[in-house]
Point group: C2
Chain length 144, copies 2
DNA sequence: GATTGCCTTCAAGTAAGACGAAGGTGCTAT
DNA sequence: ATAGCACCTTCGTCTTACTTGAAGGCAATC
């Protein structure tokens, strides 16, 4: 089964720009061209791309991904380094999920607060337990 | 209590460059200067900064954050728009956490696979259930 | 009084794309 | 058959959110 760049972009949910960028930077080493110089993608390329997307989405810089993919191609003696890379990435990602969950709590509180303001139509009445806005050079107490 | 830019950077775990960037772009409207033109930060500025960090970390573009902070300063009649912004951000963040958790599963599998290879010292023996590497133009079956 | 260390501004550099222009190919529709 | 359309290509510029470097001011300290 082979795909055009557009089909791959849709299937993998990335832009054609990104795919060309990865290819141009040597991260899709098996992509072929047809007689009109168009890129043609096979399933193996989709697998490589999905690894790239996974690592990029979890914050690995392109340069590191290139290095990782080089290691994969060098064979089994590079497994120790690959193992360390993936452990580091695992740690990074756990940390980022944790950070995001904390930030989400802050956002949830904002949403709840605004919903409260909207429901109670508190246009001029200040209720201490919900005052958390920083408005016009005045700071009100932040909710816990 | 007042702080130098360096102290704020350490306390909030961002670079001084970022803080100056946010200040220069109008996102820290209450920051004062001392007699030598150095920025001095009060607790209110730390609160603004923490909101900025929260929104940036969850993927809101600087331009949107500026708009949000403008709304905050415009007062209570902007609460409906702020509510919508925070709900959108909430949704975005939930989606990103979900994506990251999926990517994490892929990474976990890699880690487990490499650990397995290292423990079993499988230098030349291929075990079908664990073949997932793309090496030297050959594709082995991906693990589920 | 020179060094160290913090701060400043302003300009330029970076990463990872996003995008526009100019042009080639192939399909279809008149 | 030729015009339009929908793809694809390369190349080059633009964007975002910083990051870094250069050049220099003020304060303490050796």
């Amino acid at each position: 089964m082979s795909y055009t760049i557009q089909e791959v972009a849709k299937k993998m949910n990335v832009s054609t720009y990104s795919i060309r960028y990865y290819h141009d930077h040597g991260m899709l080493p098996f992509v072929q061209r047809d007689e009109n110089n168009n890129r043609i993608f096979e399933d193996v390329d989709l697998e490589w791309l999905s690894i790239i997307i996974c690592l990029r989405s979890t914050g690995m810089p392109v340069e590191r991904i290139q290095h990782y993919l080089d290691l994969v191609q060098e064979g089994e003696q590079t497994v120790p380094e690959r193992y360390e890379m993936m452990k580091a990435q695992q740690k990074r990602t756990l940390g980022e999920i944790n950070d995001l969950q904390n930030h989400l709590k802050t956002i949830n509180r904002k949403v709840d607060h605004y919903a409260d303001v909207l429901i109670n139509h508190k246009v001029d009445s200040f209720v201490p337990s919900n005052m958390e806005e920083v408005v016009n050079h005045e700071v009100y107490t932040d909710q816990p």
